[in-house]
Symmetry: D2
Subunit: 421 residues, 4 copies
Amino acid sequence: MDIFDRLESDVRSYCRSWPVVFDKARGSHVYDESGRPYLDFFAGAGSLNYGHNHPELKSHLIDYLTRDSIVHSLDAYSAAKRDFLATFGEVLLGPRGLDYKVQFPGPAGNNAVEAALKLARKYTGRETVISFTNGFHGMTLGALAVTGNSMKRGGAGVPLSHAATMPFDNYMDGRTPDFLWLRSLLEDSGSGLDKPAAVIVETVQGEGGINVASAEWLRGLAALCKEYDMLLIVDDIQMGCGRTGPFFSFEDAGIVPDIVTVSKSISGYGLPLALTLFKRDLDVWEPGEHNGTFRGFNPAFVTGRAALDLFWRDDELQRATLAKGALIEERLTAIAAEFADAGAHVRGRGMARGLAFDQPGTAKALAKEAFRRGLLLETSGPEDEVAKLLPALTTSEEELGEGLEIIADAARAAVKIALPA
Amino acid sequence: MDIFDRLESDVRSYCRSWPVVFDKARGSHVYDESGRPYLDFFAGAGSLNYGHNHPELKSHLIDYLTRDSIVHSLDAYSAAKRDFLATFGEVLLGPRGLDYKVQFPGPAGNNAVEAALKLARKYTGRETVISFTNGFHGMTLGALAVTGNSMKRGGAGVPLSHAATMPFDNYMDGRTPDFLWLRSLLEDSGSGLDKPAAVIVETVQGEGGINVASAEWLRGLAALCKEYDMLLIVDDIQMGCGRTGPFFSFEDAGIVPDIVTVSKSISGYGLPLALTLFKRDLDVWEPGEHNGTFRGFNPAFVTGRAALDLFWRDDELQRATLAKGALIEERLTAIAAEFADAGAHVRGRGMARGLAFDQPGTAKALAKEAFRRGLLLETSGPEDEVAKLLPALTTSEEELGEGLEIIADAARAAVKIALPA
Amino acid sequence: MDIFDRLESDVRSYCRSWPVVFDKARGSHVYDESGRPYLDFFAGAGSLNYGHNHPELKSHLIDYLTRDSIVHSLDAYSAAKRDFLATFGEVLLGPRGLDYKVQFPGPAGNNAVEAALKLARKYTGRETVISFTNGFHGMTLGALAVTGNSMKRGGAGVPLSHAATMPFDNYMDGRTPDFLWLRSLLEDSGSGLDKPAAVIVETVQGEGGINVASAEWLRGLAALCKEYDMLLIVDDIQMGCGRTGPFFSFEDAGIVPDIVTVSKSISGYGLPLALTLFKRDLDVWEPGEHNGTFRGFNPAFVTGRAALDLFWRDDELQRATLAKGALIEERLTAIAAEFADAGAHVRGRGMARGLAFDQPGTAKALAKEAFRRGLLLETSGPEDEVAKLLPALTTSEEELGEGLEIIADAARAAVKIALPA
Amino acid sequence: MDIFDRLESDVRSYCRSWPVVFDKARGSHVYDESGRPYLDFFAGAGSLNYGHNHPELKSHLIDYLTRDSIVHSLDAYSAAKRDFLATFGEVLLGPRGLDYKVQFPGPAGNNAVEAALKLARKYTGRETVISFTNGFHGMTLGALAVTGNSMKRGGAGVPLSHAATMPFDNYMDGRTPDFLWLRSLLEDSGSGLDKPAAVIVETVQGEGGINVASAEWLRGLAALCKEYDMLLIVDDIQMGCGRTGPFFSFEDAGIVPDIVTVSKSISGYGLPLALTLFKRDLDVWEPGEHNGTFRGFNPAFVTGRAALDLFWRDDELQRATLAKGALIEERLTAIAAEFADAGAHVRGRGMARGLAFDQPGTAKALAKEAFRRGLLLETSGPEDEVAKLLPALTTSEEELGEGLEIIADAARAAVKIALPA
């Protein structure tokens, strides 16, 4: 692994938790070069909701490539893009009554966020965007300004502007009514908050620590946006594509965001693809006003379409996700009860779950112990206080059980390590 | 094509010039759904320097996918990444004496630029970055601030800050000595220019109109950076990977930038991949201080490594590119001579070439006429005054001749259309 | 008055409430050109705490001018400045144990605020300054960024940056614990609030609607600043110079701000003068790093020193202010009780008092009716919902009684006008 | 002088060059406490164009104060303001055909600049303001962003934005045609310069080193502003009020700026007063949208009006200024010839003159030597390379001769000190 030390920037990070060289992957497992399998409860940070190298998607992908179909075509029309759009409309938008237009803003989630912010500002003619404590939206300068993490913000090297941070749901442990502060600022012409263009929110904050916004809070936020003429942007990059059960994580709340960002699992195969969706009348872009080389990556359209066909034409996956989510929650709750002394508690929705510890260092130690036992798991939250479970939605109940057993074991080891003697 | 109208945002642009649906592609040709071939002098805006679906790269890619090798692994270690890095070091960095570290900042060129700007600001503790007239570096907020195009800048919806624009080589037609203005600003503590962190420059401005910086000018810029302790960032996203002959477009000038951005053709197959290279002592990143989901896309490492093996272990491609570039220049010069009345003239280096017209509308009309005749060609420059030739480096001399014939024909038609009666 | 319409910008404002031409002034009265007297409960927005044209100050001023003493000397040493500084140290700083250095940042309050913000940012190396809802600190770009009023902010013509607004004491009617939000942001490395350089606060918000911060809240704020290493700036421009009783309005709370801004009544005679005071170790200015032409206006030093001699060598004025303040409060409370239907209530501290009305338009109408009855009174608050009483501290009890009678009468008329029929 | 050391901030600067305590002043002389006279070629940095304590102005001032006329009235109507406006219109605006409205933006020049910038941005809806190398416009955040001096800019503690610096007349020694760069940027939609709201310029840069813009250059600039729909702001704070001959320094050039800032000598007596003048149709301010406590200081209106009456009802002062300016130039030219080895040369217009030295340190040494010989003189320019002469316009020819003799002597001593042995 000396080559990495020698040639790769110190900015690399996941490899520090998992100091092996991965080689193969299939379903819920990855394998290092020695052939050792790892059960994957990380799933590419939510980019592999259908597991690694799903055989049907793989078949479509290889078929596409074999036939010399066009791979790279920027934003020219391609058959693959047309088919993706048609299926996206038919399977997702139509049945949900979402009259959205689709923008392909570039290959990464941050491109989707940057496009969303630019469009909201252009459409409203205002600059300020409301973001939430512990929100995470990306590392490019516009997305970083609405991201909470201080270490990542510090990397900007310039002050981050045109954003204002507000308390996420339950941020102050219920000691203050929802939106009291934000509403006060909006109502009061002397508050010092310039009228915002938009609000950007995650329904469940993944990087922020698996913090769940309640449906009621989301509805309150949507109503506030409407009342004060702010656009509502839901960043569904990590929680969309079925992670919480329904395709879009905001469906349960019964809200219709003005703008939605989608990426990560949308290709279904770990291929870079991102979408910015918005209500039809927001489509005030000039041709080419936002662009980017990889904004239409045909292989991703192919696997993305196949994934929609395979998983979203009925509600089977959604129901399975909810059932598995309940199973995980149940088991985690039992584990947490065992570690009440370390302040363990459970968070999450659907198959986005977290085991949080008040005791510093415990979650980090748990992840390390889990890795030793063959389970991939990352931590999140401002102090890395949460062990974060994002298994592929296609993970079997047996695999889930196996992983949760490892977590319980790892927690036992971790609490000992982290506890002062 | 009604599906695009109905579902895709109006921001789409290339499809407006080429209103057909592309389906297949191989080498220098793409094919629409009816099977009509188009000779491609656009090459994915420089992302397909080895042509579409190069058979050897394709074979590696399909092999990789077929064996269920890991596709998506963020910045964990993977065998594919290791092999890419090793080959990158061995084939490119070592022989050129470049002691760079490699960052994978995300899948798109703008990620590479954002990382470069952040690193330069962090390293120096300063904010201002010098950019050049008609420079193009991307659409995310940081990259957009150093991009010249006013329409694209306007899309930001917020004022763009922390950048200062300077004249590119020959911007004022030789009426002012090189760097007179920039040097004056730097020398003068009362100039109003805050000491810059860095300079970001393209050696040939692709989007800006195929404007070529001379080797002398580039050396002058590098010397100025050294003298005034500013980092030199060469954005080699479009002109790197052999477009101008050598792998890095700055090699001819004999300069060693502090930071280099690479993307587009680096995967060799149109797969999203981007690199930020920088001198070893600039590697002041904290682990994870810049991140992103698709910052390590293994299939792109596989094709990227294969492309390095195939094309960069000897100087054959480089020599061929220079020879073909000369051929294109010669033919374009003859064409330009024919249209002196329309102010036609030739620009470019290697296989990045432009046929510029003073007569407004001519280049646009030429591109349209070329498309009618089966040639894909885009325009660039602030007023779209340049027909831009970026054929794959692997385009045969016959294909080049054929395409240049079409260009001559198209120019004849275009001049008539654009000229006032 | 046609000359004003023709030549003076529409930005003029107080003249719109009082459409007469003032000519003479003495003590608590001003006189228009016809000789009509007006009792002045406005006192130059708090710039005339010792009344108009106080005879002793006047005598010093005329004497200074008559002797051809130096009037304008920028920041050269002058005898008048030395004497002012000596008296300032002896009468104010020494007895209060304040080890401050004094900067003369320019003639206006906004100069004092701009210097305070610059110094806090320079000293800490950070950018963000915390301000409070309905705070008012001035109209220059730096001061405006920490000012709440949206109309005034809108006048900037550029987005205002590097500031974050927080709830002032009792902003949300006690529904949330003091500093819960600010402390949460500071404690949480994922909050999205960049570590602030400083906090800027008024102890009583004059322009914001006579909102009083309790001593407990101010102590809590000072403690928070200390805990999180932020500088505490008290903007005492309107509430200093004895307006609330003690010379500095923060004395009662027992806190020692890091930086204090003083202006308005500091010259005692309505002459432009402003001070920025700060703890000795904050004096990191380079010579001339902040400057301005009128930063040392000798006549203002002369009257300012005389005012310190006359009013602040004992506690007579302070006691009288508190007594008069109590008198005003008592009478206003009785008036408010009479107009409970209009939601009348009383605010304030010392001789900064407000009669607020929930019923829209009432305070404006009251001020208008008061003017008709010969009393000058302005409104404040984001919706001009507060009739604001800032009589000179030297106003006699008889005059106060007379003015409060007019206010009661005016309120009766105003409520009728403002109430829907 | 210990009191200054102990209590006054280290930011003080002029006192460092002149370590005496000034006490009295009359005409062109100031006197320290010991009674030693100093001939004043500094004149309050151009604030005392009619000398210190001019007897007629003094008489008006004392009379006004004695009669208990109103001193402080914010922007209420006062008789003094009316009379000032009427005279300003009659004596200055009318005869020059200037249809300006007058704003009183606060007491200091920076208030006039801040108001000008805000108005230009509000009126145009754009943010960027063009400023020039070595321009000086003030220390508040908006004014500082268009000021060149790096030490002063650094004091901001935040990046300065929304401004772009351009070369002042002759900045690059004639090696580039006027406005070649600025025009290129404006013409080119890919230049990276966002369309500016305005240009702010001094006709002669005082702080910047007595750099004179030619009438031709100013006309070119005005034409460029018109062509590209940018507002032209002339900052006439130091060079207005007759300093260069005519009342407004731009009169000679035959241009009519859209906005003009005036301060310093406008009160005629060193009293703080500032004006922002603008064309009638630019008066888009809302009432109170820009305000400030000392924005109408009646004693300054009184002396200001008296000064207009006394000096500007005929062309006597203007002619005398030009004659004296020629005399100064002649004498300085002779002195410069004597010190050709030190790179001495003469700059200036009217009675704003500079003796510049290429030899570092010479001008500083000259000013010091002059002070020893009883002459007050400051230096300016980015490296303090210019001895700056701003004698009162009322300085007699004898006094001018005396002062120039001292300068010649001081130069002789200075050159020896500054020259390497």
